[in-house]
């Protein structure tokens, strides 16, 4: 049986094709202004990679912030449930999932089978989301992909960043640059501040082994290392952390189709 999950996030859209408990293919594209078109495009990419047609899929579930805008989905399920489900598929012993998205961040506590026990979410403020790092990378004139690696190569240790707000932190970064501080030290300071913020969120749901990080920001190794120090557990990260929500949706699709 072939099912699919489509996750329309605020920054990227993901689609994943699932067959008999295995990932056949997936696609990741930036979310455009038109969510419906984005959903069709990303689904098309995933299908093409698997060498399948749309008619080959039995059930499609959508998730993410644009989940109601996927016309071909039979059902939509919240990203909280999908992330817990997807993380459970990758790591069956998972109890805590941290999803670091482009414009939000969620800490989810889950039960034995990947059901959600509790969660907290920040989508009101850019601090602690991908947007924060995006703004900082732009301010420092660096690629977002390099932020993590560079932040681990400090010269004098992390600079102190006192603001939570992305706008104020940006002003702090500009002041540090004017003072001639090293970019890596500034990045290290930003990752420390970011990790503090996320750790507070995690503490609100309680952290239990195993600990999984999903979402695009899980690719930031500087942040992951600093979070591991605070949490006191090593983080499990899927080979592609951005597809966890879409995977969860595809698994739900399979379960729904079996009913």
């Amino acid at each position: 049986m072939i099912t699919a999950g489509v996750d329309i996030g605020s920054r990227t859209a993901k689609a994943l094709i699932f067959k008999d408990n295995e990932i056949l293919s997936f696609g990741i594209i930036p979310t455009g202004a038109d969510s419906i078109k984005t959903a069709q495009n990303v689904m098309g990419i995933a299908l093409k990679k698997a060498g399948l047609y749309f008619s080959d899929t039995e059930y499609i579930v959508s998730t993410g912030y644009g989940r109601v805008l996927v016309p071909f989905a039979k059902k939509n399920i919240t990203e909280i449930s999908c992330h817990a489900k997807g993380a459970h598929w990758f790591f069956p012993k998972v109890r805590t999932v941290l999803d670091l998205g482009g414009q939000d961040c969620k800490a989810i506590r889950c039960k034995e089978k990947g059901q959600v026990a509790n969660f907290v979410m920040n989508d009101k403020c850019a601090a602690g989301t991908g947007r924060f790092m995006e703004v900082m990378a732009k301010t420092l004139d660096l690629s977002l992909n390099d932020v993590g690696k560079l932040s681990l190569k400090t010269v004098k240790g992390p600079c102190s960043i006192s603001s939570i707000c992305a706008v104020f932190a940006k002003s702090e970064v500009l002041a540090l640059l004017r003072r001639g501080e090293n970019k890596n030290d500034i990045l290290a300071g930003l990752c420390e501040a970011f990790a503090d913020r996320i750790f507070n969120l995690l503490s609100m749901v309680g952290i239990e082994r195993e600990f999984v990080i999903s979402g695009g920001i899980a690719k930031n190794i500087g942040l992951v290392r600093r979070l591991e120090v605070r949490v006191g557990l090593s983080a499990n990260i899927p080979f592609e952390p951005q597809i966890v929500g879409a995977l969860g949706a595809a698994i739900f699709a399979k379960e729904l189709s079996n009913r």
Partner: protein, 275 residues
């Protein structure tokens, strides 16, 4: 040098006092002779507080044709108030803005101060005593930084926003509180071809809405006064007026009210020291 030592030499009727308000974006200084403003200046906070506060007071002294030795007492306020080496004393922002606002509008009971990186709401009684205050300085929402960010993305002058917004006939609604997210919304509206004046009007509502939340948390009374750099924006003032359904008084020069309040404290302290 310690100015306190010199106080006895002067006749009190000619007492000159100074107030310096070191803000995150601008530094303001005011000189008073008794309670009359002699001169004032507003300069960008482009250097360390120690340096910039000296520059501000020097410029203000020059305008009044005075030197630092002529000033009996100086009080500092604002975010950088502790780093003003020549100040005899420092007071907090709520104290300074309420004293300054009461000097201009004796009927003031609630003072809203919106600066570049903070927003303070202060209530005071008939005697001018501060009864309560709320300070918000953790995030750019509801501050001048929010407006500045939006002015940049819209490519309009910060000073022009107020006037432009008054032309709006069909204002938009901004749903995000966060400046970064609201900026994305604004850019989205620009791409959709929305009239800029309608976007600006929505931006002003977003600032007022944040301030309204603070006002609702404090028991505020008439008359309301708005001070700080953002009070120069007529769009924000009228938006808040509409939201609360009450008039809001705005001084001619809202930016220097904190420094004025500090100078009034200095004036009173100078008298106390002499008596």
């Amino acid at each position: 040098m310690n100015h306190k030592e010199n106080i006895g030499v002067y006749d009190l009727t000619f007492a000159i006092s100074g107030g310096v308000d070191v803000g995150s974006l601008t530094t303001k200084a005011v000189l008073l002779k008794d309670h009359e403003v002699l001169s004032y200046s507003v300069i960008p906070s482009s250097e360390k507080s120690e340096v910039i506060s000296k520059k501000a007071i020097d410029e203000t002294l020059k305008k009044a044709d005075l030197c630092i030795n002529d000033v009996q007492y100086i009080v500092s306020t604002g975010a950088g108030r502790k780093e003003v080496p020549f100040a005899n004393e420092s007071i907090t922002t709520p104290l300074a803005v309420s004293a300054g606002a009461l000097q201009i509008f004796p009927t003031a009971r609630t003072v809203i101060d919106i600066g570049a990186e903070n927003c303070v709401v202060v209530t005071c009684d008939e005697m001018g005593q501060v009864t309560n205050f709320i300070m918000h300085d953790k995030c750019a929402a509801g501050t001048g930084s929010f407006l500045e960010t939006m002015a940049e993305s819209l490519e309009v002058g910060l000073e022009d926003m107020g006037k432009l917004s008054l032309k709006s006939r069909n204002k938009i609604n901004i749903s995000s509180m966060c400046t970064v997210f609201a900026e994305s919304e604004v850019i989205g509206y620009v791409h959709m071809g929305t009239n800029k004046v309608d976007i600006i009007s929505g931006i002003h509502d977003a600032v007022s809405f944040r301030v309204l939340g603070m006002l609702n948390r404090i028991r505020f009374k008439k008359d309301l006064v708005m001070v700080g750099g953002v009070a120069k924006n007529i769009g924000v003032v009228s938006s808040l007026r509409n939201m609360i359904g009450l008039d809001i008084l705005v001084p001619e020069n809202p930016q220097i009210v904190g420094a004025l309040g500090a100078a009034i404290f200095a004036c009173n302290s100078a008298k106390d020291v002499c008596e």
